[in-house]
């Protein structure tokens, strides 16, 4: 029912001529994604552009690895941890993967409770998501420290192809930045939920517009995307 009204609005509007018509066509009432709100559509389009950025990073990594004459360092050994007298391959990366997937799960639950207007549970789950995200960044910092002390630099490393360091720092660094930004925004949105901003219609500090619980879902889209990117980094960089 909401769909038909929206389509209807778009068709009956009279259009002004000339430049004003062009401006009107590009500014309002033109909705390709009928029942998708503006905020959600824009977040998806941002995520699409981000997909291309990470796609280009992974592509340059692929090109560097395929075109080098020097053998590529074995990630299984490079990222192994010495636990209980033996080397466990990739264990830190595996734990990081599970931490990030758990945070994605708590985020999905937060979105669900947000639509049920359960402010307390939504805020707690979002803060839990932020905590797991911060844990992930902390483990990444540990991993970077370990590799840097072992002599990995963007221009070389002790085990093989020099491009290993540059692609590693570039890809995981950019992903870690995304997680960090996500943690900050999770805390901001969780505070708004906790305070009841979306129930009372309190204007936002930046846009001065009323928010609603869909903000939690849009925040969730970003967070799941960060998890999604990690799936590809895990497969191509660490496992390949």
């Amino acid at each position: 029912m909401a769909e038909t009204t929206l389509t209807h609005i778009g068709q009956t509007e009279p259009r002004p001529a000339g430049w004003q018509g062009i401006a009107a066509d590009w500014s309002s009432d033109q909705r390709a994604f009928k029942n998708v709100s503006w905020g959600k559509a824009m977040m998806w389009i941002f995520l699409l552009s981000d997909t291309f950025i990470f796609g280009c990073f992974l592509l340059s990594y692929m090109t560097a690895r395929m075109s080098t004459r020097v053998p590529w360092p074995n990630p299984s050994e490079v990222f192994a941890l010495h636990i209980g007298g033996s080397n466990v391959p990739l264990i830190l990366i595996a734990i990081m993967t599970f931490v990030l997937i758990s945070s994605s799960g708590t985020m999905a639950m937060a979105v669900n409770f947000g639509y049920r207007r359960d402010r307390r549970k939504t805020a707690i789950l979002m803060l839990l998501t932020a905590l797991l995200g911060a844990t992930f960044v902390g483990m990444q910092a540990f991993e970077w420290t370990k590799l840097i002390t072992e002599g990995v630099r963007p221009w070389g490393n002790p085990w093989g192809a020099a491009q290993f360091g540059s692609t590693f720092f570039m890809i995981t660094g950019f992903h870690g930045t995304h997680v960090t930004i996500g943690v900050i925004f999770l805390i901001i949105v969780a505070r708004k939920v906790w305070r009841g901003d979306y129930d009372t219609g309190r204007p936002g500090f930046f846009t001065s517009r009323k928010g609603h619980y869909e903000s939690v879902e849009i925040m969730g889209l970003y967070w799941h995307f960060v998890d999604l990117v990690w799936v590809f980094i895990f497969a191509f960089f660490y496992l390949w």
């Binding site: 998708v36 075109s67 639950m109 999604l228 590809f232």
Partner: protein, 134 residues
């Protein structure tokens, strides 16, 4: 098929965001559809754990060659699909949005093909001029 579910859940999400719209449009109250998804999220969450464990096992048991690469790709695509379809609600979105978002990244595969050719050529020239190589 997808449209039918979209009316059930996707639209329901939108209307839940604007309570007054839901009231005027006469859509069923928010509680009706929200009981099922929680279980769905938990099931997907569990599957993501299992799939992650599987892809870790590929490395742990040191599988090599085509078996390793195909398993990595299969587990990766399954995980990505579950996250996008259920966690990001793409399964219940309008097809116009789904296609607008899902199709462009597939074109990256063309870029991949181009860079594979380029990388092969670079390696060839490096081996020719500097000798040695893998």
């Amino acid at each position: 098929m997808a449209e039918a579910t979209a009316n059930g859940l996707g639209q329901h999400h939108l209307n839940a965001g604007h309570a007054q719209d839901a009231a005027t449009a006469g859509v069923a109250p928010a509680e009706v559809h929200q009981e099922h998804p929680i279980k769905l999220y938990l099931v997907v969450w569990a599957w993501l754990f299992v799939l992650s464990a599987c892809s870790y096992m590929v490395d742990y048991f040191g599988l090599q060659g085509y078996l390793r690469w195909s398993l990595i790709l299969i587990f990766m695509m399954l995980k990505a699909g579950l996250i996008v379809a259920v966690f990001m609600h793409m399964a219940w979105e309008r097809l116009a949005l789904t296609y607008a978002i899902i199709l462009p990244p597939i074109l990256v595969l063309v870029f991949v093909a181009m860079m594979v050719l380029e990388a092969d050529y670079t390696l060839l020239t490096r081996v020719t001029f500097f000798g040695g190589g893998p």
